[in-house]
């Protein structure tokens, strides 16, 4: 198995029959199966009188979820709530289940799972899967999302940014950051770990913005940076267009 960060994203949409919407998304060594059900009836004790409840469940590739998954669920829930039109569905529930099926092989050393010391690298893949699944379920959204992981390392005394770093690179990095942007170019999620200065963070924010929303930042030339990963926004669009075209073959 050779899953490297340079392999392009792949997605399969609406392949689960009993779920309202589903997607399998592979990117940067992760493969995640997502399913969305909703809007359905919320439990009386959970319901919000004028909004929909968004429930996110993350299940790891091996074993049962723990604090790491709860943390990711919390981050995803508060992010997705911002783009789902929750006020359209009062007293109902939108349930998002994300099952990790493949994690990068670097997380295993001598076939033993290394307790991952960071939660962040999987976030972009989870966010992307969730957005594709929500669109597959035709849940009304205000925007789509794009996100990126950036690691800051010090090599030979000089600072460097690595977009979509490998597990080894993350281990060596000084700090690790995740940024997510809406398709309107607004920053919606930022998570950072490690040591960094405010100036470094701002530089990374700028390069994340270039990576996630090339059109809004005015920099369209993607070929200048060999380290940059695939443009997830364009990818999402082409995947969805292919799906819509096959759904509406009769039009």
């Amino acid at each position: 198995m050779t899953t490297t960060t340079t392999s392009g994203p792949e997605a399969l949409l609406s392949h689960l029959h009993s779920a309202d919407g589903s997607a399998t998304f592979s990117y940067a060594g992760y493969t995640i199966v997502g399913a969305v059900n909703g809007p359905i009836e919320a439990q009386r004790r959970d319901e919000i009188p004028e909004e929909a409840v968004v429930d996110v469940v993350v299940r790891p590739a091996a074993g049962v979820g723990g604090t790491r998954e709860r943390h990711l669920e919390g981050l995803l829930q508060s992010t997705l709530r911002q783009i789902i039109l929750v006020t359209n569905f009062p007293r109902s529930l939108i349930q998002i289940t994300l099952q990790v099926t493949v994690a990068p092989e670097n997380e295993y050393v001598n076939t033993k799972v290394v307790q991952a010391n960071t939660n962040l690298p999987i976030l972009p893949a989870l966010i992307q899967t969730a957005v594709l699944t929500l669109m597959s379920a035709a849940i009304p959204l205000t925007a789509t999302l794009a996100s990126v992981v950036i690691a800051a390392t010090t090599e030979d005394g000089s600072n460097r940014e690595i977009i979509n770093p490998t597990a080894r690179e993350i281990e060596k990095s000084r700090s690790l950051h995740v940024f997510a942007f809406t398709s309107h170019g607004d920053l919606i999620l930022t998570q950072s770990e490690g040591e960094f200065t405010m100036q470094e963070w701002e530089d990374m924010l700028a390069s994340a913005q270039r990576q996630c929303c090339p059109s809004t930042s005015g920099d369209v030339n993607m070929g200048d940076d060999a380290a940059s990963g695939a443009d997830l926004g364009t990818f999402t669009r082409s995947v969805m267009e292919a799906k819509i075209a096959s759904d509406l073959y009769w039009k």
């Binding site: 205000t142 969805m240 039009k251």
Partner: protein
């Protein structure tokens, strides 16, 4: 129907090219599913789909398939009676959603003394009436009129298929001819299609019910073209005889 040469696909939150939004001197602009108006004058898609406009009637909407049925006022739906109460029936429109209410007096010819006798599991063909999916039985122009559906069989179809079957000219606009072809092949049957992805089929001959149901679900699942639909019908009718 849309007359643009190239199809416009949109994702949630995309900007819509103002040239694509129809304008009409008399009719107000009407938004169909999948669009959101942000006052004062912004228009955003909320679902991924194909942008369709009707310049004559000044309509714009996003056509897509899939997802769960979200009730909208005026939709014809097939509901299952969940339970009855003093003045209402509680009706299930899709699995795991809150029940819709159906007043007992909404039925044709119903009065305080003469109430419809429906039990849990019975089907009704009805029109959605208000927010929170209150359902009312109303008169309908063609095909099976609203009211209780007895006997027959219920099939689940995709929301897109239901929409195509409910089109006034389902053969020309929706490119679905199975039902017409089956009728032309000499089968006598009755159908009712609910916008919530349900199709009810009834006939005196049980074989016919199964053939009709199979023809439509297969057309839906395998995305058959008009020619393939005709071929399928010929095959099914041949197998039946």
């Amino acid at each position: 129907m849309a007359t643009q040469a190239d199809k416009v696909y949109v994702l949630p939150g995309d900007e819509i090219n103002p040239a694509l939004i129809p304008s009409h001197p008399k009719h107000p602009l009407r938004l169909g599913p999948g669009l959101r108006h942000v006052p004062p004058s912004d228009l955003f898609p909320t679902t991924a789909g194909q942008l369709v406009t009707d310049r004559r009637k000044n309509l714009i909407w996003v056509e897509s398939n899939g997802g769960r049925y979200i009730p909208a006022v005026g939709d014809l739906v097939i509901g299952t009676i969940h339970h009855g109460a003093a003045d209402f029936f509680y009706v299930t429109l899709s699995d795991y959603t809150s029940n819709a209410t159906l007043p007992q007096l909404a039925f044709e010819m119903a009065s305080k003394k003469n109430r419809p006798q429906l039990h849990s599991g019975d089907l009704v063909y009805a029109r959605t009436h208000g927010p929170r999916a209150g359902v009312r039985v109303a008169k309908h122009r063609k095909g099976r009129g609203p009211g209780p559906l007895s006997e027959g069989m219920l099939y689940s179809i995709s929301l897109g298929m239901a929409r195509r079957l409910l089109m006034r000219k389902s053969a020309e606009e929706g490119k679905v001819v199975v039902l017409d072809e089956l009728g032309a092949a000499g089968l006598a049957f009755e159908t009712a299609v609910g916008r919530n992805g349900k199709m009810w089929v009834n006939s005196k001959d049980i074989k016919t019910v199964l053939v009709v149901g199979r023809a439509v679900t297969e057309t839906d699942e395998k995305s058959l073209t008009v020619e393939q639909q005709k071929k399928l019908v010929r095959r099914l009718v041949k197998e039946m005889a």
